[in-house]
Symmetry: D3
Subunit: 233 residues, 6 copies
């Protein structure tokens, strides 16, 4: 249930009987030939699909995250770590004020990890609220399914190429790109990252059959739903 599809009375009614909420965390950043919003699209859709049968409200995705290494790829936007943790704190403070007590952060981008640190810091100030931080794509079951299909999988590869992240008219390369060296990447500035990455894919095929993609999705939705269901402490 999207907060965007609710009015305040409906949220108030909901809070009479439940106190869970979901906040998806995305990013606006290069994903090779895929949408610049891959991480926002996926985290928000996983959250919505997982929450749907449970009737838990999903707040609007945070479309901007932490992605400084991609700043030489046009269209990528990165917040500062300090800005991001402040934003997280402000949002959690508001949700608590209104009665939410169990909050799931569905994260779609590895670079957003400081949100997890902030969540734990915030719980030390607000021990009556539980906040879970969930990297949907590398949670155990989902990641196992990805590995089962094809272990050469990475940022901007087939693994993020879903019917809802690909762009009409963009033809993906057919070959399997060799994995980049992640350790080297981590010590490069943005221009060097771009020169090294080329098209943006970190390694692996650019697309795989939809049946495989949907099977991953299905595992991820269930795995995320299980976290919503609990336990919460």
């Amino acid at each position: 249930m999207k907060i965007s599809d609710m009015n305040w009375r409906q949220v108030e009614d909901y809070l009479q009987t439940d106190n869970r909420a979901i906040l998806p965390l995305g990013s606006t950043e290069q994903h090779g030939g895929l949408s610049l919003s891959v991480d926002s699209i996926l985290s928000e859709k996983i959250a919505l699909d997982a929450a749907e049968p449970l009737g838990i409200p999903v707040f609007p995705v945070l479309s901007y995250g932490l992605t400084p290494y991609f700043l030489a790829f046009p269209g990528s936007v990165s917040l500062r770590v300090e800005t991001y943790v402040r934003m997280m704190r402000d949002i959690l403070d508001c949700l608590k004020r209104q009665g939410f007590r169990r909050i799931l952060l569905v994260n779609g981008h590895g670079g957003n990890q400081p949100a997890a640190s902030l969540a734990i810091e915030w719980m030390a100030d607000n021990p009556d609220v539980a906040v879970k931080f969930h990297n949907w794509w590398n949670a155990p079951r989902t990641f196992a399914r990805v590995q089962e299909i094809d272990p050469v999988a990475s940022h901007a590869s087939w693994m993020e190429n879903f019917p809802w992240t690909r762009l009409p008219g963009v033809i993906q390369p057919a070959q399997q790109k060799p994995m980049v060296d992640a350790a080297r990447l981590r010590v490069m500035g943005p221009e060097a990252v771009r020169a090294y990455l080329g098209d943006g894919n970190y390694g692996g095929y650019y697309e795989r059959p939809d049946a495989e993609m949907l099977s991953i999705w299905s595992v991820a939705v269930e795995e995320t739903r299980a976290l919503i269901e609990g336990p919460w402490a």
Copy 2:
């Protein structure tokens, strides 16, 4: 053209011949019986409709803004002023780094005014980039059209009730609510605001014929488009 419907190469190609970008500013806050995302929906859609024939990219809307007075209405989320201006600065810094030089902020929520202050501060640090801050709903021509139709118009009234902000199954009251006293409202804390506002509408009818609404929309799209076209200095 949504950034979400582009990949980085398409943005790079665009930057060969143009340097404009649009960033919509929304809010997640009570709008009476309408969607909690009214301000996000409207600012993003105005931006997209205005930009469409010009081919200017529209970045994802900032879904969270400054709305502390509504914090007693469940589902409303407010960032701190400091957080908001930091977020704006970070985003503008990234856009500049990639070559954007003319940026239109299409704002959908009056409370976000400090973004305008930040934009001007930021231009003092970055005098080679022009940033326009545009309150789409009270720009001269759009506001004149609203007044022409019905001068009793306000937050969460008919004036924000478009086919894309109303919720299925929600019946709006038929009467015309008297205008609240805005001066009194401005010195109240959130709980007092809620007690005083009741359903959230600041005054006026709750809905009006779609033909009227679309005529407002059409003026607003044109007025916003004119700002994109320029002049820019």
Copy 3:
């Protein structure tokens, strides 16, 4: 009653029977041929004149505000938005700690608007204190009086030329300057603003008869006094 003309015991005595305070917000910035302190002088004097018969204490004016667009005019000083809202929060926190519960911010400079946003944010944290933000010069009655006298009135024009803001020995031009284009101004960096503005006046005559000025002052004092008197919620 100036706080500068009181000692702490006198403030303590005052707080036995009242809980109002006034804080004027000024700016140090170019005002054409007028004093660089126009906004500080006017906001503090309006506050003092309005408060005088009521015996409400007026704290020292905040002499520095937000005015990045004027930074190419020597003598202009601008704080960052973040600094300014922090300063406002600190001061409000102290006033509350000592028992003030109704605080009027008498603002003399349009660029200081984020102080209004902070005041509302602060009331969400401190709902037991009412803070009014008052732009003395464009409040309804005062602005009507200005328009009545001469609708071509603006920053650094006759409208700010009072006996207490003009400088000895400075001769003002006699002609009526055409209004500058405010929309163009808002997308310029400081150097472009200066080149465009020339002497600093935004438009209108540079001076008008004192009788007219004093009639504006008189309306403004009364209008401000009415806000001090209330209602406060």
Copy 4:
């Protein structure tokens, strides 16, 4: 020469031949029976008197400083250290932008010491500008003159009781208050400080003959003027 008595062109003219500026740092805080603005009045007046024959501009005093220990004395206002150093940095940045290269901070309140730390930090970022931090009241010659007259001198005692800081109608006690124990004071919270201090004086007589006061003033003006004159490196 007060900046408040100048317009921007006069400052620009000044900058053709000199690049010095003075910024007084005050505080709004209890001073026993004296004005709550003692530190602002004194630092601004010393600055003006010292600068006068040299024609160096004096910016408006920062009326609010760091004085958390006095928060239980009504009328005292304290900024946070972080706010204060940000404010100092913003102001120094502006002065540099306009061409000032030698800046004297005339400080009137011991609690403002972090401004000195900030000034040194800021010079590490801006090595082409010299910033002197001057505690006018305990500079060597001035302090020697105070000690010569009466070594029992302290905050809110006779030593701050000048014709321009005393309040009409307030009778000062005649006796010599014993010095408080400063070490004890420094580990007390505001309420304990107030209980311990009583009337606010730290020790010493409450007033002394004007001839003595003016002799101190005269030394302080000269000592401050010497710092303006240089050397500056």
Copy 5:
């Protein structure tokens, strides 16, 4: 080579021929019966042992990190995320200013992960400096050695019990503690964490033979040294 065992001239001489530096990141937090400084001791000693034959300087360990979940265990100290990233930025800025261009952060505490995010953000601002973030204890080869010895290993278990982290006179339990449920732990406030953890160990034996410990150490020193040696891009 400890910076503490050098003077500035020796550092200057070093910088004539090399530009590498090492900064260990520790934490002051409960480690069961072991020293509260386990993470500081280990990260600093690994750094020193790895750097020794290479002659690379090791700066003093950052003794305080991010550990909010342990705040109910006396002696644990946690900085805020914002503080921590500011501290990291300040230090990196200084090292760059003096000529260091390749900096290894040897991290001893998982909670310090935002330092890695900051390092990448900082490299986007300073692309001429390479910063590696190294979790010494779960780097591939070291972690493999731990797993080989005993896969039940965790915070405050045998895996952190080295001759240099154990305390004289403290007897460790002999049994193997079952692993705690890390997922549950992550949504608990500090008091709940303490109640759940009991003695602080997350699972596993409390000590193992020194020969095993030294073999882990030896692998970790070599693995860390390899990172110092490079490649660095």
Copy 6:
């Protein structure tokens, strides 16, 4: 008693009967031919020696402080004032949370003075905790002993040359360096400071007999111990 030599249970036991703690504040900065860690080594050792017979725990020294003027001397690291006061606040918050109520900051570096300002600000927020700020080296009795031995004593001179701060193999000059002009130094940027200071010593001999040094140490330990013993209010 070093916190590093304790585990959390030992701290908990301690807090049953006492609530004092000590935090040494150091700096990593040039000290002529002496260790770059002089201020950290001395503040931590004084704290430990003073606390030892009393059994009061000493937290790990803050190895990085405020020293922007020395940034042109390699190996010197300076935090920003804002970072430093945030760090202090975070640490004090944690100590309070765990039951400490009397905290002694043993400072080894004059530049760290804003920590004293923060301590007082923090006590205004936390009036139930007493925080003493102690500059061990210029406290009355210690400074008197230094002056008695040799009044020409300063930063990086003999006065900081203890058996535990000198470096093996470094030969100190034999002559007495004339005192530098501290007033000039304070308005210089880092490069000018370095050029002016030469070897880093501010004036005086580079070493004196150990018997003298140990007599200073002995006074300083006793003077510091007396502060731990109290009174505390």
